[in-house]
Symmetry: C2
Subunit: 223 residues, 2 copies
């Protein structure tokens, strides 16, 4: 049985868990708070980041390397399908959410709303939160635009691009950073993802001390 080291609001662990859920790979969760920099965890992954997956002597880290690994070893539910150009487009979008959306939206929200509370015992900075929410809105416009042109974010079928986007958006939404008004296409796409069996367990989890808004785990946004 694989062990997956993570904490409930880690967007990269969520991406991996959505992929494992779609592919039907079983795993056991191990709670890890990477900001504590535990020696045993740094030994598994010297980069000090979640997720890490361990089975026997094999320890995999870096969420993209983990996703590519399971795409290679588990044929079921391909998440990087199509020809080389289609796969390049899916990977481009995964990088978009892992780097750009994470850096501009999720990381500042996590810093202000989670790490300041848990680690630094400080109050969130109102301007940083406003900036992150403004960036989130621009990203949601881009997702709207993609969905105007395609059935799913990366092309005609569900792919790792959708899972990466949903993972990051779900953490931003938990932290109150998403204003859904005016993003009907994205809302409909996200509602479909929320109802998937791979997503349900993630939406049921809570980070200690911090609660999500009321609409967070509701497929219909509570409307």
């Amino acid at each position: 049985m694989w062990q997956l080291y993570q904490f409930p609001l880690c967007p990269f662990s969520r991406k991996v868990r959505l992929m494992l859920g779609e592919k039907g790979v079983g795993y056991e969760l191990v709670r890890e708070s990477p900001w504590q920099r535990r020696d045993e965890f740094l030994h598994l992954n010297p980069a000090g980041q979640t997720p890490v997956m361990v089975q026997g002597a094999l320890a995999l880290s870096d969420s993209s390397a983990i996703c590519e690994y399971f795409e290679e070893v588990i044929e079921k539910a391909p998440m990087l399908g199509g020809d080389a150009a289609a796969r390049a487009e899916i990977r481009r979008l995964v990088a978009w959410f892992d780097e750009k959306f994470y850096g501009e939206v999720v990381a500042p929200l996590m810093h202000e709303r989670m790490l300041k509370r848990i680690v630094h015992r400080a109050s969130p900075d109102a301007k940083a939160l406003r900036d992150a929410m403004r960036q989130a809105n621009a990203h949601m416009d881009y997702v709207d635009w993609l969905l105007d042109h395609r059935r799913w974010l990366g092309g005609p079928v569900l792919s790792l691009a959708d899972l990466a986007a949903a993972a990051h958006i779900s953490v931003a939404d938990y932290l109150g950073g998403i204003d859904w008004r005016g993003h009907d296409q994205t809302k409909q796409w996200y509602s479909g993802l929320k109802s998937r069996p791979s997503f349900r367990p993630l939406l049921a989890e809570r980070m200690e001390v911090i609660g999500p808004p009321a609409h967070y785990d509701k497929v219909d946004f509570g409307e």
Copy 2:
């Protein structure tokens, strides 16, 4: 013929160029300064980052997506070889250099020594430079350690891990951020890479206004 949009000190473009060189893929360079945020370039890649590769109607962006693309379509000189676990280890190390080494070493060096000069017309901050060089030294210790245990960074054969590491180290070295003393294993490994035909053209290029140290393009470090 592929066109590759880049500027001489872009480490991600260097990684792609090393891979194309090893695989024997021809391309034409197009100079792009992403900090100018040209409309036509943003149309090719809304993330606004180099490298971008264009051939006919196909535009590829994100350096990892580009490398995976050419690994899939060109069989020659595999750079992600081995079984799934070996490939995961190569990808983990590529991410290490693209994210951690870039974020801690290359990005601050580029900001202080290149962007401040070209864009902001400001002087570099001595403390930021010292911090980047200290981080570089810790990374070089890690590379030494890897090379104590393996023939190449990712395992027994040359891989994308070596190309990514060499790409980022070469930009840090150009900007005077690497102190090679005490890193004999890494120096010997890097010397071998410097002498490869895929690396020679990169080492011959210069960024306007900024020159590299004397040892930069010498296979024997001028010793």
